[in-house]
Subunit: 457 residues, 2 copies
């Protein structure tokens, strides 16, 4: 073992970054603005005010300020679970027999089980600061809902979570963690909102969808005094909060004079990827350094690699704002056989613009290969990874094996976003050999893309 | 926030202890020897050789050597998940409004979810060193089985786990983690052993018991060439391996010149409690320092507080050795309503002797109070604790509240042995208000104690 670099690089608590970095400030081509779905005009602070918290709206629309101070209360909360370790994957390197040096930033060592807590605590803080009574949100698998429940519990805010009905029934344990943190969980669609009642009257047997849960959560926010809606990915503000991942990673690497060659992150809505790569991307945009950055997405939901860069609705219900992004069409839903998360049809507008400008590459991977990497990783590195995170592991292993062939000693850094303790049904499918790959046909994708809204921008 | 003491005290990797401490070396009254259940004579190395690994048997019987070197391979493995943090519970202190200073040693940040991995890796190492093909064990809730699966995967050892049938069926996720690490899981009782077949023929509808699973695992070990049996608690060797917890805790405290007044651990078979308190107990035995040490057990399985200090069988099946310990009788089984783990009828012989000699105190707590503490802790400290660990949290909170009354600024250290991610059924019971307390009557306990084996020692 190379004893000069510890197995786990921990920053000390006073080294935790005190500012978030806004990569938009360094982008020449700014991300396109969100559009009001009614007027198709760029959203203003006034448009956003009834739905989201004030301070968060300012963060959302600010393309120029490079750094935002992290409020002290958030810094205090960070101390519960940050700094997260940057781990040198010595055991994985040895198992692969690669000359590559592999590092992963592990965000799973908290009860929410993922990086989602980084934005949840920020959004809960600003809601509290605004004097709100509570917030509403939706959750599918439950990671975001859990993170938000923890954050709201800390600030004594009411937390109302609309949980996709099939998840509510199939994942009672996720639901129970949220209840333990005091959140109110409603299976969606429900009788508590107009949109829920409408959907139930038309489709009494529906098991729900994320699109429907979003609609209910938004309605609940705007119809209750003192409530706002919060969202766990895609938005610019979320990427901003998640830069704590990349900033810590860079600080830890700098401490040991390590310069990464390749940086890898999984991509669903983009919050983890954007957070991890932002500081490195900033250097790249400013011409100070170069890195190979790779986004990894599921072959069953390939927004970057097979989607179109165009304005589209952010939700299946087509009531949310439009974003210019890589999209498979707002009606695209990945196969039910897909087990690995990262199911969003679109992508962060920031990442979409950067990808469009050729600043990073993207790869789509099939889920059996993803779980193959997961098991290999778990057995040598100890951690049982979340299916989402395994997409990044897959490509990190692929790149390390290329180094084995070429003899190159590249330094690879990837984001290990979370743990898989609540995803064991997917592991069971893989362990039992019943997991299959599902790749949408060209015809399927073309059909959904043909339905993109016509926006003259 | 007191910024002089960090929220989390992490030792550096080169500060991880390189020796385990054997508290027996400092005990004037040594723990009574295990007895051969056939001859009622003290067990010898020869008696133990067919069942357990050689090196482990030496550790088991050694009452004199104060320190054992930790083999380098185990030290390497430690780096995956150790040092574990010693956390200052600033948020809990604030919520309680106590002048007490509360610290907890958190052993849950690994995929097995608990401290069990500390002994699993040691036992797997010695099995590998002896050239064995594999090991067998039993598991109830699954923590120990998961830890052993991880350790065996690391050393490429076959791992055969007999899992109590009702757990196998009710906890498919625990089972799946073990399978992911390559272990073979058999629901017990099974058709794979004589004892299993016998039980099934007599009780075809049984859902199994830990006692039966132990019997099957032992039979599987002694009837397969190159296999031995391993056990996750109670034994002297297990306490020895678990002293890594206490040694790290003491080193972290010493680093900041912190002297604890009270040390609290939950007690089932005693592995966590013994591991945490051993170094402090050693100072107490040598007259170098004094500490108030508190063992916390469930009121539904109160070995220390209502059991008898006597020789008894270690298993329900009465085929395992006899140990002199605090016991409720080998036929005692806690109520099925009991959700909090720590179900063993007896206790480590080391801890039993120390308790008998008045070196620490014990308290029994009811489970609704335990989960009340769990939820309070989770909401302010972020971590969702294992039900076992919550017993220690309960008493830590009680002691901190006493300090609030008296104004004393005591320093309290407790062991947070693991996370509750696989125990959410119990949380659901608590959150729904359907959890009840079950305390055995005096008559019940007297009935079981009347059946203790007659041993003239």
């Amino acid at each position: 073992m190379d004893t000069k670099i510890p197995y786990k690089i921990y920053l000390s608590e006073n080294e935790i970054p005190t500012q978030w970095y806004n990569v938009r400030a360094d982008m020449k081509n700014k991300p396109a603005p969100l559009l009001n779905p009614g007027t198709l005009q760029p959203l203003t602070l006034d448009d956003l005010a009834p739905i989201f918290c004030e301070e968060l709206n300012k963060q959302e629309l600010d393309n120029d300020t490079p750094y935002f101070d992290i409020p002290e209360e958030i810094q205090n909360f960070y101390k519960m679970y940050r700094p997260s370790p940057l781990v040198r994957a010595y055991f994985l390197e040895k198992a692969l027999g690669t000359p590559a040096k592999i590092y992963y930033k592990f965000e799973g060592n908290n009860t929410s089980g993922s990086h989602k807590l980084n934005s949840a605590i920020a959004q809960a803080y600003y809601a509290k600061k605004q004097g709100l009574k509570g917030v509403t949100t939706e959750t599918g698998a439950g990671q975001w809902g859990t993170a938000l429940s923890m954050a709201c519990s800390y600030f004594d805010l009411d937390c109302q979570v609309y949980m996709v009905k099939c998840s509510y029934e199939q994942k009672p344990f996720r639901r129970e963690v949220m209840r333990t943190y005091g959140a109110k969980i409603t299976p969606s669609p429900s009788q508590t909102t107009n949109v829920g009642r409408k959907i139930l009257s038309e489709h009494p047997d529906t098991t729900g969808s994320l699109g429907c849960a979003i609609s209910e959560a938004v309605e609940a926010a705007v119809t209750q005094e003192g409530y706002r809606y919060v969202l766990g990915s895609v938005l610019n503000q979320v990427l901003l909060h998640q830069t704590i991942i990349g900033l810590e990673t860079k600080k830890a690497l700098d401490k040991y004079n390590i310069k990464p060659d390749i940086i890898i992150g999984c991509a669903g809505g983009g919050s983890n990827l954007g957070g991890l790569v932002s500081p490195f991307m900033g250097e790249k945009l400013r011409g100070e350094a170069d890195y190979q950055i790779i986004a990894v997405e599921p072959a069953s939901c390939p927004s970057f690699t097979r989607g179109k860069f165009a304005y589209d609705f952010c939700d299946t219900g087509m009531i949310c704002p439009l974003a210019k992004m890589y999209t498979l069409g707002s009606q695209f839903i990945p196969s039910a056989n897909h087990a690995g998360g990262l199911r969003f049809h679109g992508m962060s507008t920031i990442l979409s613009q950067l990808y469009h400008d050729g600043l990073f590459e993207a790869r789509a991977v099939e889920q059996t290969q993803v779980f193959d990497a997961a098991v290999q990783f778990a057995r040598v590195e100890g951690i049982l990874p979340a299916p989402e995170s395994c997409h990044a592991i897959r490509v990190a292993i692929d790149e390390a094996l290329k180094c084995k062939e070429t003899g190159e000693e590249k330094t690879i850094v990837f984001g290990l976003t979370g743990t898989g303790y609540f995803d064991l049904y997917a592991y069971e499918q893989f362990n039992s050999g019943t997991m299959s790959d599902v790749i949408p046909t060209d015809e399927t994708i073309a059909t959904y893309l043909a339905k993109l809204p016509k926006v003259d921008k």
